[in-house]
């Protein structure tokens, strides 16, 4: 039962609680199925345990209740942060993936062992972990229609040396240089990467880069230096680079394009991840391309296959980004009435597009652009709107509560929309939404469907991005106060990039499928999955 990561032993209670937390209902058939699977697992565990007992160093009893693989239990990562939400699955870092069920049970056992000091030394029974582990721990694995083994991605486990070792090994195999973290990390965020812009990812790459396609190296540099920033821009640039890669690709002899090209793309994606963590939109674009590549029939000739892929990429951009923007603009313009005062935050390409379109359609409104350090992206939004002819006001985020009485609507862009309805966007967005809610100003989030993500988050700590802390340093009148921040032991600089806004603060999400409430995001996701 290698695929039933879900049903590795949680009792009925745990199952229901878990499911409740996800807002789904378990049918009777599902419950029965789960029961059956549990029984089958117990049997398979017995078999595996017998095998393991031979390898076991510990002299423990080799009877029916064979010990769990103690070494792997000890290796399993220590306290996963408590506020992790439901469907963040149990991490199985150091445990072999052929025994997912076992690992989940081991983790539960370990957790109990920590609670119960005596049990930590004894061998735990197979059946017990299942029933007693489900003491409402919020770390139950996700239950979807198809039980899928989900792993915590390595980029939120940076403080775990085993994960880092694994990553280093993987990068070494793919011949990509490992980018080292920089500076002191604030303890709450020590599980995230923090890179410095002064140490570019190309430092250890050979100059006529042979391992990585030049278009990808260029793209990675542009990401890490911030030249291509913004969810849509990054996706479009990524697809452009992939088009170059596909154009220059030749199938090696005795290989199939559908398999080889996907393998060729993997190191590129690792490299881009090293330059800057991938965004949700980029992740979806990559999934799409990989699917398209694997769907190429084997008898297709190379030229034809490449042309097919190039057209499908062009189709994706046209439909998911360009036409989606047009559709969203069309819907949003209905929401903009004459005399409106619209508040925007930062620079969202979609919101700028909407406002420019509305201006073209002769709507009379004015815009208040809210900006924040250190990125000061609002200046770019301001430039584009003023160039169009829209009358704008510019404030910093600290003045938001002062100008909100004037505002009639708030338009926000999104980096990603999470499966529980939370909006992940530039840091500061949740503040704006909060204050707007306090003033009863409607908040409208504009987001294309290709940015919808199956992740679930309820806070901004678990998964985020740390930008270069030196960006926070500013020189005024010749003095740089924070220049020596690394020498001060108790000082840490934190430059967060994203935050999540709860759906209670968002009144409407405008997507290319229409205007939906925030809580309907999982529906859209499900529909998308069924489609594909």
């Amino acid at each position: 039962m290698a695929d039933s990561g879900v049903t590795d032993g949680p009792g009925k209670k745990g199952e229901i609680e878990r499911v409740k937390n996800e807002g789904k209902e378990l049918s009777k058939e599902e419950k029965q199925r789960l029961r059956k699977e549990k029984k089958q697992q117990k049997k398979s565990k017995e078999k595996k345990d017998d095998k393991e007992s031979e390898k076991e160093k510990k002299p423990g009893g080799s009877t029916a209740t064979v010990p769990q693989a103690q070494p792997s239990t000890q290796k399993a990562p220590p306290a996963v942060p408590a506020p992790v939400s439901n469907s963040v699955p149990a991490s199985e870092v150091a445990v072999a993936t052929e025994k997912p069920t076992k690992s989940k049970a081991e983790l539960k056992a370990e957790r109990r062992a920590r609670q119960d000091a005596e049990r930590a030394t004894k061998q735990t029974k197979k059946g017990e972990p299942g029933q007693q582990g489900a003491t409402g721990k919020p770390k139950a694995p996700p239950s979807e229609l198809l039980p899928v083994v989900k792993r915590l991605s390595e980029h939120v486990q940076v403080d775990d040396p085993d994960v880092l070792k694994k990553l280093a090994k993987k990068l070494e195999r793919q011949q990509i240089p490992l980018r080292s973290d920089y500076g002191y990390k604030v303890s709450l965020f020590s599980h995230l990467h923090q890179y410095s812009r002064k140490a570019p990812p190309t430092q250890q790459l050979s100059i006529p880069s042979t391992v990585i396609h030049p278009a990808i190296v260029r793209l990675g540099l542009q990401y890490s230096q911030g030249i291509v920033a913004g969810s849509n821009a990054r996706s479009v640039a990524l697809l452009h680079a992939f088009k170059q890669v596909i154009r220059d690709y030749t199938t090696p002899p005795n290989e199939e394009l559908s398999r080889d090209l996907v393998n060729k793309l993997k190191p590129y994606i690792s490299f881009l991840n090293q330059c800057r963590p991938l965004s949700a939109s980029m992740g979806n674009a990559i999934k799409y391309i990989k699917k398209e590549i694997s769907n190429i029939p084997s008898q297709c000739k190379e030229e034809e296959a490449k042309n097919k892929l190039l057209t499908s990429i062009e189709w994706y951009i046209k439909e998911k980004i360009i036409l989606a923007a047009t559709a969203i603009a069309h819907s949003s313009i209905e929401k903009i009435s004459d005399g409106d005062v619209i508040l925007v935050y930062g620079c969202s390409s979609l919101v700028n597009h909407i406002l420019c379109e509305a201006y073209d359609k002769q709507r009379k409104f004015r815009v208040i652009v809210v900006d924040s350090r250190p990125r000061l992206e609002g200046r770019e939004a301001l430039r584009r709107l003023v160039q169009k002819g829209i009358s704008c006001t510019y404030v910093l985020i600290s003045a938001v509560s002062y100008i909100l009485p004037e505002v009639s609507k708030v338009f926000l862009g999104a980096h990603a929309l999470l499966a529980n309805g939370y909006v992940m966007s530039r840091v500061g967005t949740s503040q704006i939404a909060l204050v707007a809610k306090a003033f009863n100003v409607p908040v409208l989030v504009c987001c294309e469907t290709y940015k919808f993500c199956e992740r679930v988050q309820t806070d901004s700590f678990v998964s985020n991005e740390l930008d270069d802390p030196d960006d926070l340093i500013v020189t005024r009148k010749g003095k740089t106060q924070l220049a020596g921040w690394q020498q001060v032991a108790s000082l840490g600089l934190l430059n967060l990039v994203y935050d999540v806004t709860p759906p209670d603060f968002v009144d409407l999400v405008i997507t290319d499928l229409g205007m939906i409430p925030c809580t309907s995001v999982p529906v859209v996701l499900r529909v998308k999955n069924v489609d594909q």
């Binding site: 100059i207 452009h240 930062g346």
Partner: protein, 451 residues
């Protein structure tokens, strides 16, 4: 393939004829390695596997015989020979090898000794999709007395004026003092786009350029440009701000004959496939390289020139005698090699300073003192010789009791017993009479001075 390396080694060394009348500049020994070895080593360290070397037949012959190059350099060297008469400029040479060039190129000069992190220059070229990215360094004053010159005669070096923008990376203006008649004039279009410009004069051009392939194609159409540094670079820097630079945007999508026509009108055509997609990504991105005005990133210009200015580190161009001496002192510090070659025989009673290096197969006798000097391969130094601040090339024989200070002795020379040379330059194969005293003299062409 991303970049092709082109090494220009056909230069004659016109500013140090004393050294180069016998040995071509590319093969002059610096720190007991031929000068051309340094840029080759730089390229090899960074990861190049092939280099196109443009040079003369003589240099090619010497390179094939030189042990250092044959053994140390693992890259594939594609040597292209050109005539030695010196009429061919660097741009002419690029035109000559146009058939071999398939991608963007990295042009290096053979007389560059540097420890720059090359990725800094190439990253500018990649990240900003630049047409030109070059390397410059802060110039250092040469403090050593130059042999053969009486007194510190400073030749009136023509200054280079280099204008960069606020970030110090974008190249806005480049002119040599010789080209400016009575003043430095800046175009209004430049100042309108970049109101803050830093103009620097104390910079040394390292002659390391990353150029787009379109530039090479442009060169093949415009046969009037013959030097990269003298003509092509100022042209590219000026063209960044010309009105037609914005014209390119309109013609972008069509990759047909109309663009070829415009290229003959002195246009460097920069376009790539899927240009519209790249343009769209730039429009969607919330980044701008400047602020304060209403224009988009890069002011909508397609042609961009960037420069990386090295503030620290070694970057030295060996094109004058003073630079040659400086290089001999600094170059050995770049590499962790033993000061004394293992095959040399040095007697115990020889006082060798830590700054000196001794080449292969040398023989140094007792009671000698060697300070801050470079001694080449197969040199014999007899007893009671004092060598200070000097450069001795290969195959030199120095008899007993000589005193050599601040001098340069070229290969295969013989210094007679008891000779006293201060700040002299002894040419190749010369023979200095015993008991000779010479101060600040260039000795070549069989000129002997006896006292």
């Amino acid at each position: 393939m991303e970049l092709q390396a082109v090494l220009m080694a056909a230069g004659g060394g016109s500013r140090m004829t004393d050294l180069t009348y016998n040995t071509p500049k590319a093969m002059l020994p610096v720190g007991n390695k031929p000068l051309i070895w340094y840029p080759l080593n730089l390229l090899e360290r960074v990861g190049f596997e092939e280099v196109i070397i443009i040079t003369t037949k003589e240099v090619q012959k010497m390179m094939s015989m030189d042990p250092k190059i044959k053994v140390d350099v693992k890259m594939k060297l594609d040597v292209v020979c050109i005539q030695e008469d010196g009429d061919m400029g660097t741009a002419d040479a690029l035109r000559h090898i146009q058939q071999k060039i398939k991608t963007d190129i990295l042009v290096v000069s053979c007389d560059l000794i540097t420890d720059v992190a090359l990725h800094e220059v190439v990253d500018l070229f990649r990240a900003h999709n630049a047409t030109l990215a070059m390397l410059m360094s802060k110039a250092h004053e040469f403090t050593e007395t130059v042999p053969g010159q009486k007194g510190k005669k400073k030749t009136a070096e023509q200054r280079d004026f280099v204008g960069v923008d606020q970030s110090g990376q974008r190249l806005l203006f480049m002119a040599n003092e010789a080209d400016l008649e009575d003043g430095l004039s800046l175009r209004k279009s430049v100042i309108r786009k970049h109101p803050r410009m830093h103009i620097r004069t104390g910079l040394v051009d390292a002659h390391l350029y990353c150029l787009k392939k379109a530039v090479v194609d442009f060169l093949s159409e415009n046969k009037s440009i013959s030097s990269i540094r003298g003509e092509l670079l100022p042209y590219l820097v000026r063209k960044q701000f010309s009105k037609t630079a914005n014209y390119e945007k309109i013609k972008d999508d069509c990759e047909d004959q109309t663009q070829k026509k415009s290229s003959t009108d002195d246009e460097v055509v920069i376009s790539s496939r899927d240009e519209s997609l790249l343009q769209r990504a730039q429009e969607l991105s919330c980044w701008n390289d400047h602020r304060g005005d209403m224009s988009e990133a890069y002011h909508g210009g397609k042609l961009r020139c960037y420069v990386h200015i090295m503030e620290q580190g070694l970057c030295c161009r060996v094109n004058t005698l003073a630079a040659y001496i400086e290089a001999n002192r600094l170059a050995p510090k770049l590499f962790e090699e033993p000061a004394v070659h293992p095959s040399s025989v040095i007697s115990e009673r020889c006082q060798m300073g830590s700054d000196s290096i001794i080449g292969a197969l040398c023989q140094v006798a007792d009671k000698t003192s060697i300070k801050r000097s470079t001694i080449g391969n197969s040199t014999t130094v007899k007893e009671k010789v004092k060598i200070a601040n000097s450069i001795i090339m290969h195959g030199v024989a120095i008899e007993e009791g000589c005193n050599i200070q601040g001098s340069v002795i070229c290969s295969n020379a013989v210094i007679g017993r008891g000779a006293d040379l201060k700040y002299c330059l002894v040419g190749s194969g010369q023979w200095i009479e015993p008991e000779e005293l010479a101060v600040c003299v260039c000795i070549y062409m069989c000129v002997c001075v006896s006292h």
